[in-house]
Symmetry: C2
Subunit: 148 residues, 2 copies
Amino acid sequence: MYPNDGFRELGRRECLGLLARVPVGRIVHTRQALPAVLPVNFRLDPDGAVVLRTSAASELVRAIDGVVVAFEADDVDVVAQAGWSVVVTGRAAVVTDPAECRRLTRTGPVCWVPSPCEVFVRIEPALVTGRELVAGRSMYGVDLGASG
Amino acid sequence: MYPNDGFRELGRRECLGLLARVPVGRIVHTRQALPAVLPVNFRLDPDGAVVLRTSAASELVRAIDGVVVAFEADDVDVVAQAGWSVVVTGRAAVVTDPAECRRLTRTGPVCWVPSPCEVFVRIEPALVTGRELVAGRSMYGVDLGASG
């Protein structure tokens, strides 16, 4: 977190409550030694873990399985000068427990287009941090404003 | 980029055109050896560079000045099953040329709340990549769907 930047830090419970409101977030990881970020949809598990669903053969799985990643979601209204951002940081791992897979098939992300060989990936909520943008204050030290 | 994931790759011109439509994106970098991601507002320079404005004393500046970062912006409509994501990857650097600072003061991000000791940070568009979500297809290998 970046202290003294005029932002209100959110508690873990607040962060998870906000995260549960949005359908899409972004996986931040490293690919070929460069920072990489991919929007994905997700479900929040009761324990705060972020659950993704993807093809077992996807490069995304190879890139993040067993790796510490950050998962970010936010909602910023530039007109209202208000918003929030939550980041879950933890190890991503393909779910291999059959009972867990059955549970996530019922409760996990629902596919628009079902495809074979899907797997679930869980991101453990080792660190859950978030900030609320207070109207008129700078966001993460960067002044929000009209852009174009 | 992740090939064969059912996504349409966007050309550099398309990417920059989409990026110019949105006021807020996310800086992806590393902080204390962990992936970090921060929403910020920005302006797109004519050459495709991403321009941020922040306090010269901010930890964000110390974290990214002289470092290769990724800057991501997206717009995903889960109901319409459509959207896009663009990533600019390149070196971030505090702008120190007086003429450039004067130019960016006129054309760069406008602050909601002006504050002293602001600096501009430019992210060079060394790599500009993007994807368009085609309705009904998986996004980055992760099936978008209803979440909660």
